[in-house]
Symmetry: C2
Subunit: 145 residues, 2 copies
């Protein structure tokens, strides 16, 4: 049973506001992910960068910034740290020498696989019937702009 205290806020209009719920759910998920990644020396941010660097076609820093909704200057710091640890490497983009693509190294790929096995997928908490709809709507909201 809930306490009298929590019932007050749980019954509030805010408790049913989708924008607030998105924020609260994402904070809970991010904190859980950060705890899971901590033994590997990663956070959700660096793990996200590593995840993109693992792809067959490695992204430029500009692409990483836009996709993660970070300022390009923040990506510099994230890539710096991963590069110093030998998990990714910067390479000049042959099509545009201003740009640098960020690709995972061998150890980077290994670290990524370990990390991916460590984080618990949010979807495992859901009823099977809800997964498809929730996934689809969430992708819609995440990429609507």
């Amino acid at each position: 049973m809930s306490t009298a205290e929590t019932e007050v806020t749980r019954g509030s209009a805010l408790a049913h506001n989708a924008s607030f719920l998105l924020t609260r759910a994402s904070v809970i998920a991010a904190q859980r992910d950060n705890r899971a990644l901590e033994p590997l020396g990663l956070k959700v941010r660096s793990y996200s960068v590593l995840s993109l660097a693992v792809e067959d076609v490695p992204p430029t820093q500009r692409e990483i910034a836009e996709f993660l909704r970070l300022d390009p200057s923040q990506v510099v710091a994230l890539v710096d740290e991963l590069e110093e640890r030998g998990l990714v490497a910067r390479a000049a983009d042959p099509r545009d020498r201003r740009a640098k693509v960020v690709a995972a190294t061998g150890p980077g790929l290994a670290a990524y696989e370990k990390a991916r096995a460590s984080v618990v997928d949010v979807m495992t908490h859901l009823a099977p019937d809800d997964v498809a709809t929730f996934q689809r709507v969430l992708e819609q909201l995440a990429f609507e702009e």
Copy 2:
């Protein structure tokens, strides 16, 4: 059509990761809300506090902190600002004189109503058939711990 650049990241494993999608969707929603609230001198944080202060049974600062997943010291600053602007008032909790309940004033209620009319509900972007499921699952994830 998407550019070649965005296709790279959109096709990544990360683009289908629920934890990442929650974060990206919440950032987009929060930025949109902040833009909508800016003319009223509010942000999502202060609007959230005001939303709770408007309830019939006003919450204590501790309850606000837990519900918004903020440190109690952050709530102090948020309530300070709203109180200086005359939108909320602190009152001693009769049941526990250590605690302070935060209630909206008349002008605070008016500001809340204006703010609520300004922010666009995320759900209006969804297909009608998806709303109920998405709302239910989101509430589950937002309050699972």
